[in-house]
Structures are given as C-alpha cells and as structure tokens.
C-alpha cells in the first residue's frame, strides 16, 4: 500500500498554498525589488496603503489558510505536532521579542521592526516542526 494517505485537509492546504500563497509571495518579492528601486520616491497616499496591504496580505492569508487546515485536519497526530510547533514558535518569538525590546529600551540596541516578527515566528515554527518530526520519526 502507498505510504501517502488520502488527506483532504492537507490537499486543500496544498492547493491554497499553490494558488494563493505562492502568487502572493511572487507579488511580494516583486514589490520588494520594485520598492528597493523606488525607495527614494517615498510612495505616499493610496500607493503607500497598497504597498502596506500587499505585504500584510501574505501573512494574513497564511494565518487563515493554516487555521482552516488545523480545523479540518482529521489526523490527530499531525495536528498535535503542528500545535506543538506553533507553541514553540509563539514561545520562542515572544522570548526573542521581549529580550530584544528590553535591550532596545535600556541598552541602546536598535529596535526590531514589527514587520519581522511574523517571519521570525514562521521560521521558528518550521524549525520546531522539523525537530519534532525527527523526534517522532
């Protein structure tokens, strides 16, 4: 029998990743390059809002897609591993941000941009997921 078990929740998440997150990521990367080129133009008015929304939309879409996946996932072990990874992500991100905030406040370290908090959370979550998968292998 195949090792790949039919999993509609995961299939839907993979489809959403392919058809929603990936195009958004491409748009974001395009905006980053475009933004670097036009950095000195200081986009204002509606363009500033479009820029901001385009960047934020990727993170928001990820949260919605992933939330739906966790709700629909029928494999309780897979869900448990993801929940553990997310808890590691939340805990470690809060620790880093709190420490960094204290250093920025009292030790003249440059503050962490809020824009980087979510990518940091995602990075830690993915690393935690890989570590947990190795543990349960």
């Amino acid at each position: 029998m195949s090792d790949r078990i039919k999993n509609p929740a995961r299939d839907r998440m993979e489809d959403s990743t392919l058809f929603i997150l990936m195009p958004l990521l491409v748009v974001n990367l395009g905006l980053v390059f475009w933004g670097f080129g036009y950095r000195h133009m200081h986009p204002s008015g509606i363009w500033a809002y479009i820029f901001a929304m385009a960047f934020a939309l990727l993170g928001v879409a990820f949260i919605v897609i992933f939330g739906l996946y966790l709700k629909e996932e029928q494999d309780e072990f897979e869900r448990a591993v993801w929940v553990q990874s997310l808890l590691w992500g939340i805990g470690a991100t809060l620790t880093v941000v709190t420490l960094w905030g204290s250093f920025a406040e009292y030790a003249l370290v440059k503050g962490l941009k809020m824009l980087f908090v979510f990518p940091l959370f995602m990075l830690i979550t993915v690393v935690a997921r890989l570590a947990l998968k190795l543990r349960y292998r």
Partner: protein, 65 residues
Amino acid sequence: MKNRLKVLRAERDWSQGDLAQRLEVSRQSVNAIETGKFDPSLPLAFKLARLFGLRIEEIFEDSGQ
C-alpha cells in the same frame, strides 16, 4: 502508554503503512502510537479496537497500574 500494536500488526502481516491506510491516518501517526511517543484519543483508540476486534484495554496497557 505501552501497547500491543506491533504484535497485532505482525499477526496480520500488516505494515505500518497498511494500518495507517485502514485508520486513515499517516504512517508517522501509527509509528508514534506504536512506539508509545503519542497517545491516541479515545475515538482513535476505539477505531483501533474495532479494527483488531479487541477491547481497548487488550491493546493498550495503563503504565500507571
């Protein structure tokens, strides 16, 4: 929690993948349960019991006792 999944599987000549297909979970789930690293919920434990035609306590052993 200790369990007899590996023995029960071997008696039927099922691989972890075979059992996973029958339970509609991933092979990693079966492996995690079998090695005692993950305790299944009651619904999954009942599903296992039905699949093997046994009672839950004939498959899982309460290590606290």
